[in-house]
Structures are given as C-alpha cells and as structure tokens.
C-alpha cells in the first residue's frame, strides 16, 4: 500500500493557515470558514482512508501491524544526531489521526454557528487550522524532537486561541498562564530529550531498529538502548521521568494542572477541541509512544505515573463536585479523566527483555488508548453541548440555568447520553474503556483499583449534578422574561448528534463484544504488543462499577433534581469550609501566585534588576566619575602660569638631585 498521500494531511491545514493568516482579513466570514472546513474535511477523509488501509492491511508474523514511515528527511543536522521531520504510521498514531480529524472537523462545523458574526472570525479559523496541523504533526512524529517541535506549536496555538477574546483581561491572563506553565514543564521535557538523545545516539522512535521505509531501508538511526543502559542504569529512567514532567504539564496533571481550568476563557469550541479532546492528551500519547522503554527500562518509575495519576484523578473529581461554572466542571472532569488514562498506562506490568510484550499484563495500555478515544468523543460532545447552552443563556454559571430541557431538546438528549457515557453505564462507550482501566488497576493493586472505582463514582455524581443543574431544577424566570432560550441552529446540533452516535455506536458494540467475547473491538487494533487482544469483561469488576455508578447517579438525582435542593443546601451549611476549599480548588492557584509573584518577581527579578542598575552599572559610572574627577583635579596644574611651572621645575630638579646624591 502506498501511503505517500499522507503528507497532505499535514500540508492542507498548514496551507489553509497560511492563506487565512495572510489574506483572511480581506475575506468575508463565510469564505474563510469554508476554506478552513473544506481543507479539514479533506484531511478527515484522508485520515479515515489511511486508517482503513492501515487496519485492513495484513499483519506481520508476530500479529502486529507494521510500523510504516512514508516520509522522513533531515531537517537540521545536529552533530551526530539529526533533527528529522517525517511521518510515521503505527496503530496509535493512526488512531490519533482519526480522533483529531473527527473532533476537529466537528468543531470547525460547529464554530460556523457558535462564532457567527464574531469579530476575528477569520483569525479564529486560521488558528484552528494551525492547531490541527500541529497536533497531527505531533502524533505522526518519527522522533522525539519532532514531537517536541509540534508540542511547542500546539502550545502556542492553544495560547492564541485561549487569548482569542484579547480585549478581556481574564482571557489574556489565562492564555499567558497556560503558556508559561506548560513551557515550564516543557523545559524538563527538553532536558529529558537531551539526555535521551545523547545516551542513545538517536531521537527516533525506532526502539528495536525494526522500522523500515517503503523501499526497505532504515529511515533513521535506531535508538541504541543498550548504550544508555551501559552508561548507567539510572539514565533512561531519569530521561523518561523528565519527559513525563513535560507530558504532565501538557496533560494537566497535579500540580501542573492549574492552567487548564483558566483556559476555559477561550471560545467553547476551542475548549472542546484543544482542552478536552486532543491537546491535553498529548502527555498520555507521549508516554504511550515511549511505552516500550517505560516497561522495559523504567518499571519502577512507572509507579510515579500511577500515583500522580491517582491523586490527580481524585483531586480533580473532588474539585469538580463544588464548581459552579459549567465549563470549569467539565475542565476538572477532563483533568480527572486524563488522569485515568495516565494511571492505566502506569499500571502495566513490566516486560522481560527480549520477550514479546504480554497483552494480558499490559491491558492498561490498550485501556488507556481506548479511553483516550472514547473520552475525546463524549467530552467534545459535552463541551459543544455546553457551548450551545452558553449560547442560549449567555452565561457560564449554573445558577443562571435550570429547566432548560424543554427549550433545548437536542442538546439535552446528547448531553444526557454523554453524561451516561462518562459515568460508565453499560452500552455507552465510557463503560467499556473505564471498565478495562479499572480491571487493569485491580490487577496492579487492589488499593489503586478501589480508589479508581471511587473516583469513577464521584465522576458519575458530579456529572449528574451538572446535568440536573442545567436541565432540571428551577427555571431562571428572570432570564426567560428577556428572551426565551432556544435550541441552537443545525450547524451546532449536527456535530453533537454525530459525536453522540459515535459514543453510542462504539458503546453498544464494545459492551456486547466485551460480554460475549467477540473480536473486532478496540483491542483488535491497538494493543501493547500489536497482536489482537480482546478482553472478556471481568463480571465482578463490571458489575461493581456499574452498580456504584448507578448509586451515585441516584444520589445526584435525589439531591439535585428537585426544584428546591434541601440536602444540597444543608451540605453546604454543614461543611462550609470544605465546600469553599473545593470551590477554590484547594488554593492551588494562590500557592502558585505566591511562588511566582512574591518569590520569583519580588525576591529574584527585582533585586537582580536593581543590582544591575545600581551595583554593576554603578561601578562603571563610578569609574567614569573617578576618571572625570581625576581629570578635573589635574587640570588646574596645566594653568599656563610660567611661574608655577618654574616652581615645580626647580622643586623637581632639587628633589631629583637629592635622590641621586643619596644613592
């Protein structure tokens, strides 16, 4: 199969970015939007075609799909190492192509309605194209440095899109914060890359040296893992952990999560695309990409990933229970769900040198990727639904909503379906993926398993709290007096329906397949070893998590469904401090503000600037002043007064004679 067309997947969005960026301002809104959407439509079609060809191709002898490198060239030589750019197709990158192009296309279509009439519409589509190009470039990277390059580019597109409403101060601060926090994490990523590249002799993702180009030649220098191991056992783990910090920044793991809730200042479709479905999973993708190295050479350090993930999942779920801004709830929910993916990767059992990775012990890898896929779909749907709601009531606050189900039936149904999916109810996609994650956690350690089950229960609870708060409860009479909320136009509801259909379709099939033990599920395509692996649900785990989810939903129904919410009010009154702390995100932002403003600005930068102006500069000014003064002092001596000269001349002569005589 010839995959030479895949370069178009990267070039088309780039092209549309350049066109819109240079000439966008002169175009009418519709043209600009159409350029962006059309190019993305083609990209989506190409991605699906690639995926179709790739996954229907014959598997290799070990049951894995071949890793293909249709393009690779040296972009910048760096001594013995090379900075390559290229395209690499393997199961996870192909899967990501589908996720990114699908969600991005939906967001492009949705934005026609959502951004209708906004100033800067063309600019918005230009940024979307830039983002899509960078994200696609990130997932098809052939080497870690290319990944870093696109990693920075997605960061900057995220910066530009969060700050889209630039006259508003919160948007500007949020964009700045997002960029700087992720940049801080990226610094560790970069150092990790340097260590990795130096000790293994290559940046490439060819760990076993088995990646070949279409013509059978090796496209790049393979990573020499043994060289790194010989140099010291701690080197690879150190590099991997440093890269994980980079990934944790992008994927908003505690304590680097603080930028994500603020990033909700951007337009809502952007939150759906970047801050829910695609960019924030880059960290998960990075670990999945380096997964063979993690399991073989840093199994001990994988527990860091697990515990960071577990804590983040719990923390974010707890905070989500107390937020009142619907986008913030979804943001914390995203953090929590990404943490699920991280945990799933971490709980994989170490492999043994030279052996084919055992799929059963590494269920977590498959589960994580599966959850990434399902989460992208239902979370994008939730965010886009939230966008419709915000469009209708012109506010993010849950208190201004309530009783919207009558006015917005399509949004209501799709939102409900996505909530059921994230809560983990059977026959919805979230169930299958979350269940696999929890199964993998139980296999790792019952403690982690039970904590994650608990977090899953919290997820069901806060999602239904959100759902009831928006669609049930008291109607906001005051608002409705001004204008009645209405359903969003078709170009906004269509993406919701598409994403929902995917969620339900995937959910129904995988649930039945899981119980019946059929093939053709997610495990047929993406597994740790590449060989097909379809799990049979562990009935005990499945039943427990379903029952717990239903109980939490029931609890949320009981507390939040009614017009009045006596229990909720009572809870606030009983635990005001806890509620306030959770609402304030346990004061993490304040801690950061303290560190950055008080310590770095006040105690480091300001003194340095002062030191520079006063001490160093002062020294030179002093020297200049000294020279000047010396000149001033000497100047009167050159008075032109002959008598004075004569006195000096005679004194000098006498003194000199005396000196000579004494000698």
């Amino acid at each position: 199969m010839d995959y030479s067309f895949v370069f178009l997947i990267l070039l088309l969005p780039l092209f549309s970015f350049i066109v819109l960026g240079l000439a966008g301002m002169k175009m009418p809104h519709k043209t600009a939007g159409l350029i962006g959407t059309t190019s993305l439509g083609i990209v989506t079609a190409l991605s699906y075609y690639t995926a179709f060809c790739y996954f229907t191709a014959e598997r290799g002898a070990d049951g894995a799909f071949a890793t293909l490198v249709p393009y690779n060239f040296t972009w910048l030589p760096l001594g013995q190492l090379n900075f390559d750019l290229g395209i690499m197709l393997d199961p996870i990158s192909v899967m990501m192509l589908i996720v990114i192009s699908t969600v991005s296309l939906m967001v492009h279509i949705y934005s026609f309605g959502y951004m209708h009439g906004e100033k800067g519409f063309q600019r918005y589509y230009a940024y979307l194209s830039l983002f899509t190009m960078s994200m696609l470039g990130l997932v098809v990277a052939t080497n870690i440095f290319q990944m870093y390059l696109f990693w920075e580019l997605v960061g900057v597109s995220s910066y530009l899109l969060i700050g889209f409403y630039y006259p508003l101060q919160p948007a500007v601060s949020a964009s700045k914060k997002a960029f700087i926090v992720t940049r801080f994490a990226d610094m560790f990523f970069l150092i990790g890359i340097l260590i990795f590249g130096y000790y293994t002799g290559s940046f490439s993702f060819s760990f076993a040296g088995d990646v070949v180009m279409a013509d059978g030649t090796a496209p790049f220098i393979p990573v020499d893992v043994m060289k790194a191991v010989a140099a010291g056992g701690f080197i690879l783990p150190t590099a991997l952990v440093l890269m994980f910090i980079g990934g944790a920044g992008k994927s908003a793991m505690f304590p680097l999560h603080i930028w994500l809730p603020d990033a909700m200042e951007g337009p809502t479709p952007v939150s759906a695309l970047i801050h829910a479905a695609t960019m924030v999973v880059a960290g998960v993708f990075q670990i999945a990409r380096l997964f063979p190295l993690w399991v073989e050479y840093a199994p001990g350090q994988m527990s860091i990933v697990v515990w960071v993930g577990v804590f983040t999942a719990f923390y974010a779920a707890a905070v989500a229970c107390a937020q009142s801004d619907i986008k913030r709830v979804l943001a914390f929910s995203t953090i929590s769900q990404i943490a699920f993916m991280m945990v799933a990767l971490g709980v994989c059992m170490p492999g043994h040198h030279g052996e084919v990775l055992d799929n059963h012990a590494q269920l977590g890898f498959m589960a994580s990727m599966f959850h990434l896929f399902t989460h992208a779909m239902f979370k994008a749907c939730l965010f886009l639904g939230a966008g419709c709601i915000i469009h209708a009531v012109h506010s993010n606050e849950m208190s201004t909503m309530g009783g919207l189900r009558k006015y917005m039936p399509v949004t209501h149904i799709t939102f409900l379906i996505s909530c059921l999916a994230i809560a983990g109810i059977p026959f919805f996609s979230g169930f299958s993926s979350k269940d696999e994650i929890i199964t993998a956690c139980f296999a790792y350690s019952p403690v982690v398993g039970w904590i994650m089950t608990g977090v899953a229960a919290m997820t069901a609870f806060y999602m239904f709290r959100l759902y009831y708060g928006i669609f049930w409860g008291t109607e906001n009479k005051e608002l409705h007096a001004h204008h009645t909320p209405h359903e969003a136009p078709l170009n906004m509801t269509l993406p919701l329906i598409v994403l929902c259909v995917i969620t339900v379709g995937v959910g129904v099939y995988t649930t039945i397949a899981g119980f019946a033990g059929w093939g053709g599920s997610f495990g047929s395509f993406v597994t740790a070893s590449g060989a097909e692996y379809n799990i049979h649900f562990d009935l005990q785990v499945a039943a427990t998590s379903t029952i717990i989810a239903i109980i939490s939903i029931a609890l949320a129904t009981y507390i939040y469904k009614g017009e009045k919410q006596p229990i909720a009010d009572k809870l606030y009154r009983t635990f005001p401090k806890l509620h306030r702390a959770a609402y304030k995100r346990f004061y993490m932002d304040e801690v950061y503000m303290f560190v950055t403003h008080k310590i770095i600005f006040r105690c480091v930068s300001t003194p340095i600037a002062w030191f520079d102006r006063h001490v160093i500069d002062g020294t030179f000014d002093f020297l200049a002043w000294g020279a000047n003064e010396a000149g001033e002092t000497i100047r009167p001596w050159q008075s032109g007064d002959v008598r004075k000269y004569a006195v000096w001349f005679i004194t000098g002569t006498v003194a000199l004679t005396l000196v000579l005589l004494c000698i």
């Binding site: 910048l76 700045k176 600005f601």
Partner: protein, 483 residues
C-alpha cells in the same frame, strides 16, 4: 555610497541613494552566498578555509595588510548585515532633522561592520571595529531620545575601554607569535604562542570583544545605549554590532589562542551562564520596552558566547545561527518598538495597552517577533537554541551539563517576559483614549517589517542551508581549538 550621499542634495535623493545602495549590498551579499557555495563545491574547507582571499599590503613596517576573505561564518554575517541595513533604511524613512547626515553616519557605521566581517587581518579588523564605534556616538548623541548624551558617552567609553584591551591583546599575539604578518589565518597556522603567554592575553581579547557581546558584567552599556538610540541604530547595533563581539571572540580570541581558550573557558562559561539567566530575569521586571529588549539581548548574546565556549561543532554552529537569528529578531523588535514609540511617544508598558485594536499590523508583527524570540518552532530562534543545547550537551562532563541545564531555564523566563509585555501592551483595554486616533503602519514600515519576518521565518523553516554553510566555516577553526 558614502560618496553618493555626499552629493545628494535633497531628501528624496538621500533616500534614493540609500535604497539603491543598500539594495545593491543586499544583492551582493546574496550573490556572495551563492558564489561561495559554488566555489566551495570545488574547494573543500579543509584545504581552503577562506575563499575570495585577497591581500594588499597597507603598512609595511608592521606587516599590516588589507587582506580579505570569507568563510562560512562571515558569509552569513555579511548577509545579516545587508538585510539589516536594507530594512533599517526603510525603518528610518521618516526620520526628520538632518536626514542626510544621519544616513551618512549610518553608512559609515555599516562600512565598519562590513569591513570587520570580511577582513582577515587582525589590525585592519581592529580598525574597522573602531570605525563602527565612532559613528555610534554621534548617532545616539544627536538623533537619540531620552538621556541620550549620557547613554552615548557611556556606550562609547565602555566600548573604547574594550578596544583598549583588544589592542593590547592583538599586539601581544603579534609579538609573541613572532609572526611577520597580522593575518589571522597565518598566525593560527603557526600555532606557536607559549601557553603561559596565551593565558595572559586570552582574557584581554575575550573581554575586549566580550564587552561588545554583552558579556556579564560588562553589559551595562547596552540597556542605556539601546534605549536612547534611534530605531535604525538600535536595529543595527543589537542586530549586527553586538555580533561583532561574538565573531571576534571566536575568530581572534579562541582561534589564535586555542590552548588558553581550552584552559580558561570555564571562567567565561560561568560568566556567560550568568549572562543568560540574569539577563532574562532582569528583563522580567523592566517597564521600558527597549530595556526589556536590551536585557533580552544580553541573555541571547550571552547564549552566543556560551555556545562558543562549549567548543563542540554543533554548539558553535548553533552560536553562529543564534547570532544570525538574534540579529534578525532583535532588529525586528527594535523596528517595531520604534514604530510604536513614534506613535504613542511612550515606551512605558504601564502606559500602553490594547494596541491590537488600534494598530493591528504592528501588533501582529510584535506578537510574531515575540514568539520568534521565545523560540517558537518555525522561526529562527528555535533552531538556534536547539542546536546550541544539543551541541552543549555533547560535552560529557558534569560542569558543562549543569551549565547547559541552567541555560535551558532561560526558555521559560523568556516566555515570561515576552508574554508579560505582549499581554500588557497589545491586549486588554486601551490605556489612553488618545491612542484611538493613532494610525497603523505606513508602507515603508510595513515593507521593512515584512522583510524581517520573512527572513526570520525562512531561516526557521529551512535551516539546512544556513546550518551547512556555517558548519563549513566553523569546522576548520574548531579543528585548531580542539587540536
């Protein structure tokens, strides 16, 4: 060109001469790159490090000659100078009083710069270096702004101090090598200065050039100097003149005194590491746009010297790339700041705000310059920094590694001060209602900004050719240093 300016009587003629002259220079530089590549194909760098070499004796008793020649490094530096002179001409299009004299000095300044880059004779190099310095005093002192006399005096005195150290060093090299020539290539080939003597003169030359390259703690002329200089002079100064420092350090100090360079590198490495982080941190709290940029230049030029001292091929290539990239980026920055200042009459970021709505072109340009400065992939800053970091990491010992990691932190701090500035001045609310009446860029300003953005993006997207040309020039020098 000087001659042309002399005869030109009115404003239009002056402008005309400048445009024609600087376009010719630009065309010549581009031609030079191609000719260089063409010639290099037949003459490998190992045998002929310098191409187009010519030598005319100038002052026999001291064996001073006007000898010229170019290698990979000087070719790209000449290209950089031409681009900046060309765009600088357009950036100072509307400069009013004494336009003719201004351009006269401006041209003299660029002559010095060109001369410095193409000369291979130590003394002639020194002479051109001085030629480049003197006009600076007048350009800042007469056409500058703010506390201009002080700044001009300070800048000139500090740089003159540097050149006093230089001349001592140059004479030292000349006498102790026992050479009968001032030619850099020939002295390097002799390689016969005793190590102890080298160790005495290395600091002289390194600091002498380092002053110009904003080596900590000799960088304090730069914030004042930049802040007071007129736009095009800031561009040329930060863009090209500061590169003279790095170029000189590499070409004279390290090339001619290789053993001392090896032994004393650690001292200067510490100083440059401080420069990198210190400059960036200082920039975080400045309130004057030009001060921010000046400190940012301290940080970035610090990185140039830092990389040179790493003495690996990749790092040195990165250093030259960084010179090129920083030259273009800062020129862009100073051009934009000049244009914004020309409209708002303030550079205080506390008094600016919401410019994006008022002057979208300049603001977008500023955002691009900012992103390029903080090392966004696709712009030149990224490739330069990455080359430097990868190259520095090639040194296996702990000291170099730790220094590299400390220098890496600058990428975060850079992001902080750039985004702080961009957020303050471009976004948010319009700070002063008077600003609403201001206009966006005129055609000449647009042209100069677009040219620079094009160069920055071009270098950042297709770095291979530049990297190859530079490596070609770096390799022979390094083979002497790491002898």
């Amino acid at each position: 060109m000087l001659l042309g300016l002399w005869i030109a009587r009115n404003l239009n003629q002056v402008r005309g001469v400048m445009v024609v002259g600087s376009s010719c220079l630009l065309a010549l530089s581009v031609w030079l790159v191609f000719a260089f590549l063409d010639m290099r194909a037949t003459m490998p760098a190992e045998e002929f490090p310098m191409l187009f070499a010519e030598s005319i004796p100038w002052f026999k008793p001291l064996n001073i000659a006007y000898s010229v020649g170019v290698d990979g490094i000087s070719v790209v530096m000449l290209l950089l100078s031409s681009i900046i002179v060309f765009t600088g001409t357009f950036a100072s299009w509307q400069l009013k009083p004494m336009t003719k004299e201004y351009f006269l000095w401006f041209t003299l300044l660029s002559t010095g710069v060109y001369g410095f880059f193409i000369c291979t004779d130590m003394f002639t190099m020194f002479m051109f270096y001085e030629v480049a310095l003197i006009p600076m005093y007048l350009l800042i002192g007469v056409w500058g702004s703010g506390n201009k006399e002080y700044a001009a005096m300070k800048l000139t005195l500090m740089l003159m101090g540097g050149s006093a150290l230089l001349i001592i060093g140059i004479l030292g090299i000349y006498y102790f090598s026992g050479a009968t020539t001032m030619n850099v290539q020939e002295i390097a080939a002799m390689h016969n200065i005793p190590v102890d003597v080298q160790k005495i003169f290395f600091p002289f030359i390194f600091i002498g050039f380092g002053v110009l390259g904003a080596l900590f703690p000799f960088h304090t002329w730069s914030p004042d100097g930049h802040a007071s200089a007129p736009t095009a002079v800031s561009m040329l100064h930060a863009g090209v003149l500061m590169k003279l420092g790095g170029y000189g350090c590499f070409r004279v100090a390290m090339y001619l005194l290789p053993d001392a360079a090896q032994e004393l590198a650690w001292v200067f490495l510490i100083l440059t590491t401080i420069s990198v982080v210190y400059g960036a941190l200082s920039a975080c709290v400045q309130t004057d746009l030009k001060y921010i940029n000046a400190y940012s230049s301290v940080s970035h030029c610090g990185l140039v010297l830092f990389a040179l001292l790493m003495m690996t091929k990749t790092a040195c290539t990165g250093a030259i790339l960084q010179m090129l990239s920083h030259g273009l980026m800062t020129a862009l920055f100073f051009a934009l700041i000049g244009m914004i200042y020309g409209r708002t009459h303030t550079r205080d970021i506390r008094k600016l705000g919401g410019l994006m709505k008022i002057m979208p072109f300049l603001s977008v340009g500023y955002v691009i310059a900012g992103l390029a400065n903080l090392g966004l992939p696709g712009f030149s800053g990224f490739i330069a920094e990455m080359t430097i970091f990868v190259g520095s990491f090639e040194n296996a010992d702990m000291f170099h590694r730790v220094a590299t990691i400390i220098a890496c932190t600058s990428i975060v701090v850079t992001a902080v001060y750039i985004l702080r500035t961009v957020g303050r001045i471009l976004f948010g609310n319009v700070a002063d209602p008077h600003y609403l009446e201001l206009t966006d860029a005129t055609w000449d300003e647009r042209f100069s900004v677009c040219c620079l953005i094009f160069c920055v993006a071009g270098l950042g997207s297709f770095p291979l050719w530049a990297s190859n040309v530079i490596t070609d020039g770096v390799a022979p020098i390094l083979s002497v240093i790491n002898f």
